[in-house]
């Protein structure tokens, strides 16, 4: 299996008035083709920043401070400012024009908030035409529109609604349009950031089902960023749990839910309410994550960790292979 994405030592920092906050800290990650990776963690853990870094769209004042992001490209891609050769390409070294060509076509991103991501002055059809013509100017309007209609149909939107404006759609429908725009160019890698968070459970379930269907038809590799572990249990193949900018555990979905290794992952899973288990005693994690501007030495989780040892306070645990075949960054498992 080839890797659709390989990330090496990626660090992203935000320069704030109070100092530098390291939102993503030396992340290593690789993702095989056609799999869905769930990126989970609490707010502020860096999951959205990591997703945006893969698009090279980290918002100001953030910047990639180090590391490489490799994606796989099937064919040479022509570009005005230097063609992009096929094979594994390090996108941190590309120029803006080259990135523009890749975005949407090779890597697409579905933003969190569909209300603010669509242009209120454009019909839904125009969104699709612009999206397609930006990458393939030779495609006629009619054909672009047809492609848009086809994707929308797969998401449960009637094709004749392409002449409507965003405000004429409900929240769930707008989110579907966003997903359609992300998928219409058949990117290799689709990153979706909390695609269903603001939606009601029924609409959420409908959309997740349709996304899974389209993922199969389009052969997509997907990264699903969400804080909702229930959603990931139902959709992801693998899950990476992030804490304070670091990946603390990466495992297949089955293994993570069956036998979480990292104490943070264990506690997080115990805190999720489960409608099928009314007698589950919900636990919580005492304390709060440390301030990223003033990080603590050692494992970032140590002040909240029930198993913390002396070594946890001084040394950052490396990400090593776990007993369940995944990866874990915890000194409890360093003995081998």
């Amino acid at each position: 299996m080839t890797n659709a994405l390989r990330i090496q030592d990626l660090t992203v920092e935000y320069k704030t008035r109070r100092g530098v906050a390291r939102a993503v800290d030396r992340v290593q990650l690789s993702l095989e083709e056609n799999r869905t990776l769930g990126l989970a963690g609490e707010s502020g853990c860096g999951k959205s920043t990591l997703g945006r870094a893969i698009m090279r769209l980290v918002p100001h004042p953030g910047q990639v401070a180090g590391g490489n992001i490799y994606i796989n490209i099937d064919d040479d891609i022509p570009c005005k400012k230097g063609d992009i050769p096929k094979g594994e390409v390090d996108i941190t070294g590309l120029n803006e024009e080259q990135m523009r060509v890749l975005r949407g076509k090779e890597i697409a991103y579905i933003f969190q908030d569909p209300m603010t991501s669509l242009n209120p002055m454009l019909t839904i059809g125009n969104h699709f035409i612009q999206m397609i013509q930006a990458h393939n100017p030779e495609i006629e309007k009619e054909e672009a529109l047809d492609r848009g209609k086809e994707v929308l149909e797969g998401l449960g939107i009637l094709p004749e609604r392409v002449t409507d404006y965003p405000h004429q759609f409900s929240g769930g429908m707008r989110q579907r349009v966003m997903i359609g725009l992300g998928m219409v160019l058949r990117p290799r890698l689709l990153i979706s950031d909390e695609p269903t968070t603001s939606l009601d459970v029924i609409v959420e379930a409908q959309i997740l089902e349709q996304m899974a269907e389209l993922k199969k038809t389009f052969n997509l590799t997907m990264i699903l960023i969400t804080h909702n572990l229930g959603v990931l249990a139902q959709t992801a193949d693998d899950i990476a749990i992030m804490y304070c900018g670091r990946i603390v555990e990466l495992a297949s979905t089955e293994n993570l839910f069956e036998a979480p290794q990292h104490p943070y992952a264990q506690a997080l899973l115990l805190s999720v309410p489960d409608v099928t288990k009314p007698n589950k005693k919900l636990v919580w994690i005492p304390g709060a994550p440390p301030d990223l501007v003033d990080p603590i030495p050692g494992c970032m989780f140590n002040p909240r960790c029930p198993m913390a040892m002396d070594i946890c306070k001084t040394q950052v645990p490396p990400l090593i292979e776990s007993e369940t075949g995944g990866l874990v960054a915890c000194h409890l498992y360093g003995g081998k």
Partner: protein, 325 residues
Amino acid sequence: MALIEAKNIKMYFPVQRGFIDSLFKGETTFVRAIDDVSLQIEKGETLGLAGESGSGKTTMGRLCVRLLKPTEGQIIYDGEDIGKIKGKELRLLRRRLQFTFQDPTSSLNPRLSVGNAIADALKFQRLGTPAERKEKAEEVLEKVGLSPASSFYDRLPHQLSGGQKQRVVFGRAIIMEPEFVVTDEPVAMVDVSIKAQLLELMLDLKKDLDLTYLFISHDLATARHVCDRIAIMYLGRVIELGDRNQVYENPLHPYTVGLIGAIPVPDPKARRSEAIPPGEIPSPINPPSGCRFHPRCPKCMEKCKTEDPEFREVDTGHSVACHLF
């Protein structure tokens, strides 16, 4: 006897129109946010009110504490119709009925220290001297787990985490030692790792102060953990009501079945057994005829399209509004 009883409540909001429209187009249209709901809330229980956005659950909560006056129907509290209370009596009533709003960040004044935010509740009720109010507010801060109170009293909301802000909101609700509190999505905005902590705080406060809760939530998984009984709302109606075990283990209304089936289960081996209802919740301005759920219902019959099903008890304490039962 029920602590609060809602009798055939209707709450219609007029649809805003432009000036020209209001001159030339005849009658005003209404959003039927609540359309004929009767509910009883027993003393000491936690009643959950669940449903999708737009189902009217927040409006129902506001009606129960007289933040809104119903268009029709009565809310009886302590033998009195609270819709008719005015002036000083209403102010005294507010001491016993409290409401916590959905978003703790926007329900706290960013320029007011959290201690004063809590103490001000007493000021508006013209209770105590400033020193007494401060002492009482500190006591409440400790009670909601913001301890030591002296270090939290002067902080501004932006210096607190989301969970701590939610605690302040609880503190402000309980300082009056109310009998009944409506909590609107109290844990929707906090991270899952501290959700359980806040729910536990709610239950502790309930025990300490002998509270009755109306717990409004769209998150049925959380509601199952805290509520004694649960009412499911759809488009301004309560369509199912029962003991939580009855509703979750033996849901009757096809909408409840779909809603519970759609909740993502944090277990990769669990598979969805029920089909997801198609479509979305229709507009409450022109609700469908007959049963309001019929256009989306997998078990829709001819009768459902024309006849509004009656809300009736089918098992002890378990009521449903559906022609199937």
